[in-house]
Symmetry: C2
Subunit: 531 residues, 2 copies
């Protein structure tokens, strides 16, 4: 209620616009919304095919970065006499790059100006005069044919993932299928890794596999390190690569916004973490016995009650190892390494001036995993609790600092990660209940075990209540708040200006010629001045 | 697009209206909709607590019917001298009933006129000036708190199930739970019956169970009848009672409309039919082995391929027996029996002047079951096909006749039973594919078996397509059609009259004094006139 008017509140993304011959997408959109939303329709921006243009811009960006680096190197080693010959060679390179940059930018300008060459995509951002008008267009089906004129919330203009629009329906469909197969393969590969890591905790097995290590492994320190600490280090190291893979997968799936991509990646990551890190480590043994436990629902509690405590020491080590990962978050070791590596190779690829954004899709699943560990183990192995507590305390202070001082938010999450957190917590609670039932069953306390049975049921009821009470709030604003807000703003003096900005808010950044060239000028200008 | 303007198109049912102290529900509704839907809001009708009134009206109705019957008997046997004494007694009874009817009607009038005695229920029918206005109120969440001001499509005024509104939230909640438990119990009871029926097909077992029948069972005709025909007769006879039980369950669940109740009963009935009639008969054996088949997904096809053909003869007999049931539909045997029984006992309870409505909830599941039988057996026992074909042909002609000449539709189904039929057909197709895979597997044709694997996948994809393309049409009208229709009707001369009728369309029939008394007059008048 207190937010300023933002473009995404007034805008709707329309897809699958049907186009008859001879009529452009732009005209079709204009006609349709003028007819059915005459009182609230403001303007529209049709999305264009900009794949080629984007490639050209990328080229220009790359050359520009290389040029900047070269100039930087030039400047810093310019008065060192031992590099005179090298300097000459570089200067030549500098000229070459500058020539290429000019060529590419000429191409970009040509491509941008030539509107006829660009193909229209049957998708458009349609802006309305009021929030309620936009809501009307979103929540009521527009066309008689449900596969046409599909509307949805428009993302923040900075949050739009433009390359997606260039892909065709078929491409997206195939991409979805590929992502599905790839996710399964990834989990299978990871399960093999976990099996190997689990093997490390049994030293004898390792000696059998790798006989040449026998001598080293017999040293007490090494063997303790290998069995106690190494498995979780390997697991953490490998799983640190998974978030970026998952994000790549989500990108391929075709979301219209970066936030959508990150939310989907977060979901994928969560499922991956819980299955490969938690369940795969708990359910040691062959794949067959793993499948069997879920096929026999009656035995799940008792089996879990046996299997979960057995892995307590491994998970305690895992939590302790994670302390390092969370402190490396503070020191940004990975970024530092990357930067140093780039400096060493004298070809730092990215420009480091931009602050990174918070990687929600990798951090949220990790934190939720520790919640799961804490809640499930507090019955069978309470020793894990102080370690998890330390993790959460460290996490609180470190992420508080990071969010305030280090990361720059790329988009407003709008609290849309909360439902994910809520669902996972409910799942965690139910796992805990089942485990407790199993533990009491094993300890021959059938009364305690059966008294616990209502707990999961109550948890589900609570979940159902929350779904009804709170979930709709995350999905849509209400008529009440929309109309109140509209009326409040109706007579504000800044609204005409906002609406005139709104008309151009959803232009593809690839099509903004002035911004791009001034940007590159800005970036190169100070460096040139210091020469 | 061609339908006349109907009250349900312009009306929204609002529930969970929050009421602050001292403000009536009516005022709250008026204030809310005048504020947020000022341009389209027309009027509203608050629902009242009419449980007591409805009981009184029921009493009046009962007495009235009894009176009518008495007068009918009086008239028909008036000039039979052997009943003179009886007639005198009846005449006295007639006077008594008339006295009681007057008392009850006085009470009804008192109750109806005393508006202060009636409690308002936080639910109201809100009418709008345009279809699009109503759609706006339905599809956009009204209040900031999603549990308040919940809106939904209003049913046809004749279709509203009024008693539901009298129940409190807690009562409905408990009713839902009771219905859930009762449904499970019903299926369990029915499974026992099926087990018994299945026992009949194995004559030896029956002889063991009921040794005193040994002599009778050894007659060839009897044994053939018992093993071949009796099981399906019993099954059909018992299952003929289930639809009304299911409808009772759905009524308890709290739907606002009769059509909603019947749709829910149809769904329940369908699940019941497929599980108890099809699967329970196919999966003979102990309950444990039944559960096991679904826990081992890999073996489902091959097991089904063994079990399904084994019951072919039973299902052929079942189809043949159903011919009788569908012809009894033509002759309305049940209704005739009821009528005759009523006449014999001289206390026909219902007035038979009203035409019955089509019992969709019992007929649709039965027809879909035969579709399932036809599709699954056409691979393993094609002999069933002609029998199913005869059933469908009979069904086509009989139901065509019944729908045109016998049944009077109580409400417009709006095609909302189609999605149920579609989903069941998809399920049937998938069962058929699985069965085919299993059969080819057993016949040692692994290539044919694996070539069939894409079929279920394609079926699911087709289902997904239909869900996207056609399902939304069943759920809501589009902006396009709503606005077109609104504009078309805007200047029609009959609209002002329609709107003035709309204001009173959703009044509880229990609160309509004139209609009720005139109705009863109408009903009794012709009979008195003929005396």
């Amino acid at each position: 209620m207190t937010s300023k008017p933002l473009p995404q509140h007034f805008t709707v993304l329309v897809r699958a616009i049907p186009v008859s011959d001879g009529v452009s997408v732009s005209d079709a959109v204009d006609k349709f919304f003028r007819e059915y939303h005459s009182s609230t329709y403001l303007s529209h921006t049709v999305v264009h095919q900009t794949g080629k243009l984007r490639r050209l811009l990328n080229d220009a960006e790359n050359i520009c970065t290389k040029l900047t680096n070269l100039k930087y190197v030039h400047r810093s080693s310019g008065d060192a006499p031992r590099k005179f010959l090298g300097l000459f060679g570089r200067n030549d390179l500098l000229g070459q790059y500058q020539k290429r940059l000019e060529d590419v930018e000429e191409n970009v300008r040509l491509e941008q100006s030539d509107a006829t060459r660009r193909q229209e995509i049957p998708a458009a951002f349609v802006s309305f005069r009021s929030r309620y008008g936009a809501a009307n267009a979103i929540y009521i089906r527009q066309s008689d044919n449900p596969t046409e004129w599909q509307t949805e919330h428009a993302p923040d203009p900075h949050d739009v993932y433009w390359p997606f629009f260039s892909t065709s329906f078929m491409e997206r469909w195939i991409a979805k299928f590929v992502v599905f197969v790839a996710s399964i393969l990834l989990i299978l590969v990871f399960l093999l890794v976990v099996a190997f890591v689990q093997g490390l905790t049994y030293l004898e097995q390792l000696k059998q596999w790798l006989p040449f290590l026998r001598n080293i492994l017999e040293i007490a320190v090494v063997s303790q390190l290998v069995t106690g600490y190494l498995p979780s280090v390997i697991l953490l190291f490998i799983s640190s690569y998974v978030p970026s893979i998952m994000k790549l997968f989500s990108t391929m799936q075709g979301f219209v916004s970066v936030s959508g991509i990150e939310r989907s990646a977060c979901n994928k990551m969560l499922r991956f973490t819980i299955w490969t890190v938690f369940f795969a480590n708990v359910l040691t043994g062959t794949a067959l016995s793993k499948a069997e436990i879920f096929l026999n629902p009656k035995e799940i509690p008792s089996k879990l009650a046996v299997l979960v405590p057995a892995q307590a020491s491994f998970f305690i080590a895992y939590v302790v190892t994670s302390w390092t990962s969370i402190t490396s978050e503070l020191t940004q070791t990975a970024a530092l390494f990357c930067h140093l590596l780039g400096k060493c190779a004298k070809c730092c690829r990215r420009d480091d001036s931009k602050a990174p954004s918070m990687p929600y899709h990798s951090e949220i699943p990790r934190i939720l995993l520790f919640g799961l560990l804490g809640l499930t183990y507090f019955i069978v192995a309470p020793l894990i609790l102080p370690f998890v507590l330390v993790y959460f305390c460290l996490g609180y202070f470190i992420f508080r600092n990071q969010l305030f001082n280090v990361y720059a938010p790329k988009y407003d999450t709008g609290g849309k990660f909360w439902p994910i957190v809520h669902n996972t917590t409910i799942f965690t609670l139910v796992v805990m209940h089942i485990l407790a039932i199993g533990v009491f069953g094993i300890k021959k306390l059938p009364l305690a075990s059966s008294l616990l049975l209502p707990l999961p049921v109550l948890t589900f009821l609570f979940n159902e209540f929350c779904r009804n009470r709170f979930l709709p709030i995350f999905e849509a604003y209400s008529t009440e708040s929309l109309i109140k807000k509209d009326r409040e703003e109706q007579n504000k003096p800044e609204m005409p200006e906002f609406f005139s900005n709104l008309v151009t808010a959803y232009r593809d950044p690839a099509l903004k010629p002035t911004q791009r060239s001034s940007n590159s000028d800005e970036r190169t200008a100070p460096l040139l001045a210091t020469m």
